[in-house]
Amino acid sequence: MKLTVLKSTIAGVALAAAASAAWADKANDTLRVAFTKELENVDSYFNSSREGVVLQRAVWDGLIYRDPVTNEYKGNLATEWEWIDDTTIEFKLREGVTFHDGSDFTADDVVFTVNYVADEANGVKTQRNVNWMKSAEKIDDYTVRIMLKDKFPAAIEFLSGPVSMYPSDYYAEAGPEGMGLKPVGTGPYKVVSVVPGQHFVLEKNEAYHDSPKGQPTVTNVDIRTIPDVNTQMAELFSGTLDLIWQVPADQAEKLAETGQFTVSNESTMRVGYLGMDASGRSGDTPFKDIRVRKAVNHAINRGELVEALLKGQSQVISTPCFPSQFGCDVDAAVSYDYDPEKAKELLAEAGYPDGFTTDFYAYRDREYAEAISSYLNAVGIDTNFKMLQYSALRELNMKGETPISFQTWGSYSVNDASAMVSQFFKHGSLDDARDDETLEYLNIADSATDPEVRKENYSKAIKRITEQAFWAPMFSYNTNYVTTKEVEYTPTADEVLRFTTVTWN
């Protein structure tokens, strides 16, 4: 083993010294993109990164496709689908589709993929994306049925998002590790090379089927992981990158001012909120009192936060979900305007005329959390601010030891309210409200097959949650895409960078 380390070390040195720089540009039809985070595994079932979603949409296809602009569901690897009963969907598959390794896409691939990912023992990283499926069954070569564990109306949404189809023979042999190093799919881009976490090279799939994703135009995509955003900007300036994304607002503003680049901003589904311990899991906390929770809601100037810090397409959010999500009824939510005087009155009524002191936790966006903290201080809630690693906060949260915390949730880009409201208000370990009435509405909404019944009950749940001020919803996030003037790209609101829609100017 020691020898292996030594050998690969020497190989690493040699590689670093010998590999020639493959600099290209529009002339070479190569789009050079930067990732910020090291992606753990290209196999989309075994990562939980935004970068992973981007590659997933490029390399693989789902049975269904949701148009990111119109939100309309269209057939992709399936041409049509039908609910046989509440827990069975039948799909007619598209014929003549081939994987990048040349094998044909048939019902066997769907059966294998579904049965593999649905089996918890195989350890798919984001269980929520797949654990609603029980199994799949082949009817004939191009007809397949997917069986659900229970009623799950959001199935179509999940099948058009995180659930991609893998080649059965190849995946059975390669497994997640092999798939991560040499991915094979049906998607618009083939993977040419992978250096885990560091470098990904894609090439246009010339034989891409007639998919609603559209045909790719850019021939090569070269993605490097550059952790420092300043370095990414330097690469952009020196002409060695064509596209960067997730650029912080202040940097994006400066880049726009130079006039050399195209800066576009789009909202994302991520919502920031304050979670409060309404059920008193952390002991006898002031947040058990609804007046205190309402005071928190009134204390924070969310409009100012959006304008001064988040900027761009961010909006003030009053719902415990993202407004575009199915069932996220904005009108049902009680919105609390910024009124520090009222907040002080409510605190006084609740028996805290001089305020109180509480621990306040956050795990990301320190500057937002600090701004929120100072708004709370202004009405008399003294915060003992603690910034933790995500996993550490998560642990405290599950044990019910966080009286108030600044948290965010991105719903994995699933455009259904169940991906957020139901995640946090169904008495799970992260639920600090533990409200029976909310649970009742959500149980109906999550399992009803009639869309109207679902909508009605999500609305009731949202009304209940906001009336009780279990949370203080804050704002939605946004992301900036910066490209050279040679690149034409219109971002979508789901924070998925789609190479198929990139063209050269």
Binding site: A16, T231, A234, E395
Partner: protein, 305 residues
Amino acid sequence: MLQFILKRLGLAVLVAFTVSFISFSLLFLSGDPAAALAGETASGEDIEAIRRLYGFDRPMLVQYGDWLMSALRGDFGESYYFKLPVASLIGDRLGVTMLLGVCGISFALLTAVPLGVVAAIRPNSIIDRIALFLSVAGQAMPSFWFGLILIVVFAIQLGWLPPSGAATWKHFIMPTIVLGYYAMPAIMRLTRAGMLDVLSSDYIRTARAKGANETRVLFRHALRNAIIPVVSLAAVQMGFMLGGSIVVESIFALHGAGYLAWESIARNDLPTVQALILIFSMFYIVFTFLADVLNAWLDPRMRSS
């Protein structure tokens, strides 16, 4: 001499164990590894299952013992994050870090020692002033800032060098300068102080009095003695560079072991962090040990201490 080496070796091994144990235990304070592994959507039961599966429910001492036994066999386990063997993951990245470290320390020595010598020969001259300025600036300037300044000047404005990456030797020029510059001031000040001290000593006066030429006095008699503390400092700096090039690796997007360590801590990737800590502390210990041996060889008086 042999006895001296054995004594130092024993000490080095003890230090290695102590460091690895302390780091191992500290890691458990940085959050629940099971929760980190389970990811955002996991329920309490999922986390419990993972805790049992990975053996986090066992006493820490048992976990440490287990890990150490495998590590001695060369098996560092599988990275929680990449799901790849830690040994190959580190092997892939150690090359960049080692190359950078060697270049960095060479750059530092090749610039700092001559500057220190010249500064000592002409104390308070203009060269001494420049050297002083350089060393103060080197200590005061954070390396991320210095790195970005270099990128702005040489990659963007002049376009001579690529801003980041590790594809060619050109990619290593700026990182080498940034990393080396950080170690330069200490080496230079120590060379200067050592030279000044030695040059005013009796035996140098004697050497000059008997008419030895100045070059011979400086390099044969003075530098050989003045360089001894520099050797140990350079060894420590080298250890620091191999483990501490995190900032430089991050700015220049060099995916080396330092950056891997930093990211692995944030990701609670315990097997990777533990292996890296062991490897980094081994570097440190080996270089310190080599410095001791080298010093003892250069200066026989040290062997008895």
